[in-house]
Amino acid sequence: MELTISIILGFMIIGAIYALHAKDLLSAVIAMGIVGYGLVICFLLLKAPDLAIVQIVVETITLVIMVAVVLDSTRQELEPSFDRRALLNRITGFIIFAGLFYFFLLAIESLDPLGMHSLGMADSYVNGAVELTGSVNLVSGVLFDFRAYDTLGEAVILYTAALGALTLLRMKGKK
């Protein structure tokens, strides 16, 4: 289990690195798609079919939008430049990364390893939840009953993004 996911994750990391360095923006976007679809397989392995369905659809739509934008503008990646600022960015980046990585290792030492999770708050979302909400799909029960308020917020976010896109993409800003 852990090994399978690690291998898929390895491919995802390679895909992500390729996406960041690709010369062609279209292939960068497609490489990001690889990362997203790899995530779908991980979700399926982790017994999360709801997430897999949502992720596969959302990933496809994201790809459609991104490809549309790239095809509409330019596929050419910028010329790489190695001036002082880029170098400085990289050096600070690596120092921060090394620090973050080290502290992450320390931080997760005491936490539950994979598969050893115990239910805290979620205990009531699983045991006896079907009687409480009537929903056989426990995730739906959490989303639309126990934590329906979160779902409202989430829908509002998508609504805001749609309204924002409408606002940002109008032709003239000022009269």
Partner: protein
């Protein structure tokens, strides 16, 4: 009273949706509905404030109250601190909206503007009321995503660039926050803020604890624009439409940045000395560097934006000092004074920075420029703008009898009582620098006659704009009353009690 709490989120949401549906059909529908809903929210906030007193209410959404002291669903928590924030948010929101009525007429797609405005208010109200870590994140995203769209509302070159930068850094901050929430859930198996506090009280792994706290400081520090994380603020706050700048600088960075930081570090985490040191020093650095960067600006709104960084530094420093003194445990009076000063300065800053951005908006509305060098001689032709901006400038620089003087004084006294002599000196120095750059603003905008050729044709701004400026200016004077101990007791004490007595607070909430 309990049943009123969800209305703080429901009213602005419903009016936003109605504006989008009916705004196209009925002319100037949005101009009526949006101010009405904000007015209703303000009245609601004040009504709840008068009835709340020292108690706190927890409201279980969906009726999932939990069993055996373990929360089950999402809780909305209303206590002395959050109601104070609600009052500020809805007050400044109402004023900025009134101002927008006249200001926004030069833009297209007005109804979208008002709908997004309602959504930003709904998001902030949701953040302030939330008692659940993940729910807080969701509503934080509601308010910041609508602010991304509002910053770029003019769809000009600078606006779009500023909004992109804001989005990237905001997205980065959101990712750090989400990672921290995931780690906290991993460790404590719960999302309820009070429940997590109970878990951490029982004991915690030290390296985990510090890592999560640093992630949260970075994440919310980015939202609050504390100095190493401030890169987006000067662009975003200066290129947004002016009422939105007033909202962003006045309340958004406080509601989604400072409020959450304070809530987490007082009520979710157990106090720790290192984190208090980090907060205090970050606050002091922002205070000093922000003011030094502000003094070299010639763009009026950029000057105000950098000054926001500096003033937010005061607030963070005051709260950091409060935690430091509480950890040391030998001088609780000074700690209470520092926290009171921080709260007081936060309220004051919302009022006078909101007012200053509205002033800048008035000048921009009439002159179409933000460059101080191109202004001059406006004191004759725009008397209302001149008077109110003078009051706000004196207030932010800490000149008596305006409110800024008293809040800065309280912070400085607390620093001296707590033996932070260096910080006290810095606070005084920064106050003098602040006076310096606001005198620069006053001189170049209102007196210098150099560019004053075309000035004679300029008229004062229309009534809704001048009314909102006058209202805030009067509030600048009125808030000085908070310096009186008896007034402070009734208004600030409930909030301070909630912050200091976290265990007691947890008990009243978890008595569910």
């Amino acid at each position: 009273m309990d049943a009123l709490i969800p209305l703080f989120v429901a009213i602005p949401l419903i009016s936003a949706f109605l504006i989008v549906i009916l705004g196209k059909l009925i002319k100037s529908f949005h101009r009526i509905l949006a101010p009405l809903s904000l007015l209703a929210l303000l009245i609601l906030a004040i009504y709840v404030f008068t009835g709340l007193g020292n108690s706190s209410i927890s409201y279980a959404l969906g009726g999932w109250t939990g069993n055996g002291g373990k929360p089950l669903g999402i809780y909305m928590v209303l206590d002395g601190f959050s109601i104070l924030m609600l009052c500020i948010i809805n007050l400044i929101g109402l004023i900025a909206l009134l101002y927008s009525l006249a200001y926004i007429s030069k833009y297209t797609a007005e109804s979208n503007y008002f709908a997004l405005f309602c959504l930003i208010v709904a998001g902030m109200n949701g953040v302030v009321l939330s008692g659940d870590l993940f729910n807080l994140f969701v509503f934080l995203e509601v308010s910041v995503i609508s602010s991304y769209a509002l910053v770029a509302f003019g769809v000009g070159k600078t606006e779009l660039e500023a909004s992109f930068k804001y989005q990237v850094l905001g997205g980065l901050a959101s990712m750090l926050i989400l990672l921290a929430i995931a780690l906290i859930y991993w460790q404590s198996k719960t999302l309820n803020i009070v429940d997590i506090r109970v878990f951490f009280d029982a004991g915690y792994n030290r390296s985990f604890y510090v890592f999560v706290q640093v992630l949260l400081i970075a994440g919310f520090g980015m939202k609050a624009a504390i100095i190493p994380f401030h890169a987006w603020l000067p662009d975003a706050h200066s290129s947004a439409p002016s009422p939105i700048s007033a909202m962003l600088s006045g309340v958004l960075i406080k509601a989604v940045g400072i409020y959450v930081l304070i809530r987490l570090f007082f009520n979710l985490f157990v106090f720790s000395y290192e984190i208090a040191m980090i907060l205090t020093s970050l606050g002091a650095i922002s205070m000093v560097v922000g003011s030094l960067l502000a003094i070299i600006q010639w763009d009026l709104k950029r000057l105000l934006a950098y000054s926001s960084i500096s003033q937010v530094g005061y607030v963070v420093m005051a709260f950091g000092m409060g935690i430091l003194l509480l950890v040391r445990g030998n001088n609780e009076a000074a700690a209470i004074l520092a926290i009171a000063g921080g709260l007081y300065h936060m309220i004051n800053h919302a009022v006078f920075k909101g007012l200053l951005f509205l002033n800048a908006g008035s000048i921009e509305h009439r002159l179409d420029t933000r460059d101080l060098k191109k202004m001059g001689g406006l004191s004759r032709v725009m008397p209302v703008t001149y008077t109110t901006s003078f009051m706000a400038s004196m207030s932010i620089s800490g000149i008596p009898p305006f409110n800024g003087f008293f809040s800065k004084l309280i912070i400085i006294i607390a620093a001296i009582n707590g033996r932070f002599y260096l910080l006290a000196t810095l606070a005084v120095l920064v106050s003098i620098i602040t006076l310096g750059y606001f005198l620069k603003f006053q001189r170049f905008a209102f007196f210098n006659k150099a560019a004053g050729q075309a000035v004679k044709k300029i008229k004062e701004v229309p009534f809704p704009m001048s009314f909102s400026m006058i209202f805030l200016a009067v509030l600048c004077l009125a808030l000085s009353l908070l310096a009186l101990p008896s007034v402070r007791e009734t208004i600030l004490s409930p909030a301070i009690d909630v912050l200091i007595q976290a265990e007691l607070h947890s008990k009243t909430i978890i008595g569910m």
